[in-house]
């Protein structure tokens, strides 16, 4: 990671049942996962779906505890940034049952990031701009139009890019081309309600995004992914800090989540700033090379 961790951080962690939060992983990965499944499945994953673990049958309390720390647990992390707070929740591996199996399959992470602004904050829109770098088998992992905006060594580090799906105009993660929020984002804002009004409207202010990185690996391939979710006050054109997260899958197929951390208290610097500049350069290219025909530029701090 680049950039310095500025003011504050740290944190509370608690266990949450995945059944009660966030969209669930897509089941079954057709050819990639099924055809390449190993002949022998590790004992820990051979249990039929929904079946109780052995210790739960022996002791109900032990079973409850086991479930609390099993694959169904996930961490919620709160990271202070001055008077604001980033919350990372959910944060879990894709297909944890297959962790450690060296097969061809998708690996990745599901992550939710929430930005809770200070109570005095005034803005009509808080969005997220996300920078990301991924590798597979030691080579840059780039999809679609992302190769047209990726940083290189001259930017300080190769492989970083603004994370937007092909066909989308805005650099804001999850924003539709008509400016509305897709299902992966809730824009933050301040309704500028009275003190009394805010007592009744608790939803005011928070910006939330949800991401689900998946990268198909061949057996033996290592995969890495590093990302920073930058909260962005679009009304005032300022960045409100960024949280880093990611994962690494070893050549043996074991995935490790990276500890979420405050990447910077303010705007993107270093290679992240360079990634924003690369996005803007792409917007000036011929239409066929842009992320979308009407690719909009991003604010560079």
């Amino acid at each position: 990671m680049t950039g310095g961790v500025a003011r504050s951080s740290v944190t509370t962690v608690r266990a949450v049942d995945e059944r009660t939060s966030g969209p669930q992983p897509v089941a079954g990965e057709r050819r990639a996962a099924v055809a390449a499944r190993p002949a022998t499945v590790p004992a820990a994953t051979a249990r039929p779906a929904g079946a109780e673990p052995p210790q739960a049958r022996a002791d109900p309390l032990a079973g409850l505890l086991a479930r609390a720390v099993s694959r169904r647990t996930l961490a919620r992390k709160e990271i202070k940034n001055g008077a604001a707070t980033f919350k990372v929740d959910p944060y879990r591996k894709h297909l944890p049952d297959e962790d450690g199996t060296d097969t061809q399959r998708q690996v990745g992470v599901e992550v939710g990031v929430e930005y809770v602004p200070p109570g005095t904050f005034k803005t009509a829109k808080i969005a997220f701009v996300q920078t990301i770098k991924a590798t597979r088998g030691g080579a840059p992992f780039l999809l679609g139009k992302m190769s047209g905006r990726v940083t290189d060594a001259s930017d300080g580090e190769a492989g970083w890019a603004v994370d937007r799906v092909e066909g989308r105009d805005s650099p804001n993660y999850g924003q539709n081309n008509d400016g509305t929020a897709s299902g992966t984002i809730t824009f933050g804002f301040d309704k500028q309600l009275s003190w009394w009004g805010k007592l009744w409207d608790r939803s005011v202010g928070d910006a939330k995004m949800w991401d689900y990185v998946k990268i198909t690996r061949l057996a033996g391939q290592a995969v890495t992914c590093d990302a920073v979710s930058w909260a962005f006050d679009e009304t005032n054109g300022t960045y409100l800090g960024g949280v880093s997260w990611g994962f690494a899958t070893s050549g043996g197929g074991t995935t490790t989540l990276k500890e979420p951390a405050l990447e910077a208290a303010g705007g993107p610097t270093g290679v992240h700033k360079a990634a924003l500049e690369r996005w803007n350069a792409q917007a000036d290219l011929d239409e066929a090379q842009r992320n979308s025909p009407h690719q909009a530029k991003v604010v560079v701090p």
């Binding site: 990965e29 050819r31 990639a32 679609g144 799906v165 689900y212 990185v213 990268i215």
Partner: protein
């Protein structure tokens, strides 16, 4: 079908390619193009429902590569490629190269949707396929998981692009199924 054509095709399994690059590199395409009668053989393989899907997929990729183009002016040739691509889409290991409904058509999705004939017949059977799409990336997989996109949705999206009609599919899966049902002939 001659052994040399089969040998070249069977060296390449497009289902195992994880990037957006064509399964047959320029050298392989050049080898095929140099074989007398290769184009007719490739069309025959692409249109052969009994041939292994990987071989049909490779044959279609070889024909799309560009050196061989006479098939594009043949109704049978175009239909054979459409059929092979639809089978490939349905059984592919990754769908980014086909597209993400409502967002973009990938390299192969664009080429399939642009074929002048045979696309309706090839994609219609996929409109019942409930298997989830396999999308790599960051925002793309999130969108796909949230919407519950399936082979059926991708086939419908490409069908809309082929017909030049708007993709107005609702986010709700049940409602989207009614939208998809209206696409059937």
């Amino acid at each position: 079908v001659t052994d040399d054509v089969l040998a070249i095709l069977d060296r390449h399994d497009p289902f195992k390619v994880l990037t957006d690059d064509p399964a047959l590199d320029a050298d392989a395409a050049g080898e095929l193009a140099a074989i007398d009668g290769a184009q007719e053989q490739l069309v025959g393989i692409a249109g052969d429902a009994g041939a292994p899907p990987a071989r049909r997929y490779a044959a279609a990729e070889a024909l799309l590569e560009g050196r061989l183009s006479d098939w594009r002016s043949s109704e049978d040739g175009v239909r054979a490629v459409a059929a092979a691509l639809a089978v490939a889409l349905q059984d592919d290991s990754i769908h980014n190269r086909w597209g993400l409904p409502g967002h973009f058509a990938g390299r192969l999705g664009k080429q399939l949707a642009a074929l002048p004939s045979g696309v309706d017949e090839a994609l219609s059977p996929l409109l019942d396929d409930e298997a989830p799409l396999v999308i790599d990336g960051s925002e793309g997989p999130a969108i796909s998981a949230l919407a519950g996109y399936r082979i059926a949705d991708l086939a419908a999206y490409l069908l809309c692009r082929h017909r030049g009609s708007d993709w107005d599919a609702p986010p709700d899966t049940a409602q989207r199924d009614r939208f998809i049902a209206n696409l059937r002939h």
